[in-house]
Symmetry: C2
Subunit: 172 residues, 2 copies
């Protein structure tokens, strides 16, 4: 294992340094998750943590910090919309990770099932019921059972890797 010499970083504990280095090597698909506050105000955020948990029943997970602006809404609602993003909607992924006040300013979304905001041009959306919120330190693993959804426009999947948005390349 010569090629995997330990990461020496005097500034950071080993686990944190290893974690940061490893996740920089990991590429992830990009989704936007939306919900409504109890007052019916739309909230949403860009995430790279969407993962399949099971196909039958259709279960997916995503992770978030309790300090996230959308956490109170996700904590207080039964429903979320998960939207897979394509290359042509990179600007929406950026918007949904930017200034909170601007995320739903405009006509780039419309209300879908349960009034949940669905972004225009996404490659697919799923609406599901939150079935578990597992707390871990100051974070939460959210488990969603998908109940409906639709395919969107054909588009290259949007990836996030090395702090950059990109699309899939050649098969290997």
């Amino acid at each position: 294992m010569d090629e995997t010499a330990p990461v020496i970083t005097p500034e950071e504990p080993d686990g944190i340094a290893a974690f940061k280095h490893a996740f920089r090597r990991h590429a992830a698909g990009v989704v936007v998750i939306t919900a409504l506050t109890p007052e019916g105000k739309p909230v949403g955020f860009t995430a790279t943590s969407l993962a399949s948990l099971a196909a039958v029943p259709p279960l997916a997970t995503f992770n978030m910090a309790k300090v996230a602006s959308a956490w109170p809404a996700v904590a207080g609602t039964d429903w979320v919309a998960i939207q897979t993003m394509g290359a042509r909607t990179r600007h929406l992924a950026e918007r949904m990770s930017g200034d909170h006040d601007l995320r739903f300013e405009g006509d780039h979304w419309a209300p879908g099932p349960h009034g949940l905001p669905i972004l225009e041009g996404v490659t697919s959306w799923m609406v599901g019921r939150i079935v578990e919120r597992f707390p871990v330190a100051n974070n939460v693993v959210v488990v969603v059972q998908v109940e409906e959804g639709a395919l969107g426009e054909p588009d290259a999947a949007l990836l996030y890797h090395e702090r950059t948005y990109l699309k899939p390349g050649e098969t290997v």
Copy 2:
């Protein structure tokens, strides 16, 4: 939302059809997770569910089915190794999702911290302690606190998308 007409699939409930369609549009990074059985036998599997949960403390999640061959080992150990895969190790990702008896046949791995199998040529590895195993129906969300790790060889990240292995492409 004309472009997102409902998915009509008489054969499947709405949620399952929506889930399958959406995850086909989603691209994911590929990792291999390894562990030891109580008898010290190596087990491992290829996964696309690795997600960051927090950086401080360094927490990651992955999902698995309780029917997975590696589940008894993951259920019974405190330690796992998570390895991010690169394009040059596609063959190892395939091997670790193939015949169980052949996954550790050969010299493509070596024991690392806690005796955990570390595959040769991976882009990084992290060894962590399992801090939670959250059951959901017949599946489990596993939460790992990373304690050490290292960068591996420079290589393009390995992705799985549309049932194909590929590497990242152009920035968008």
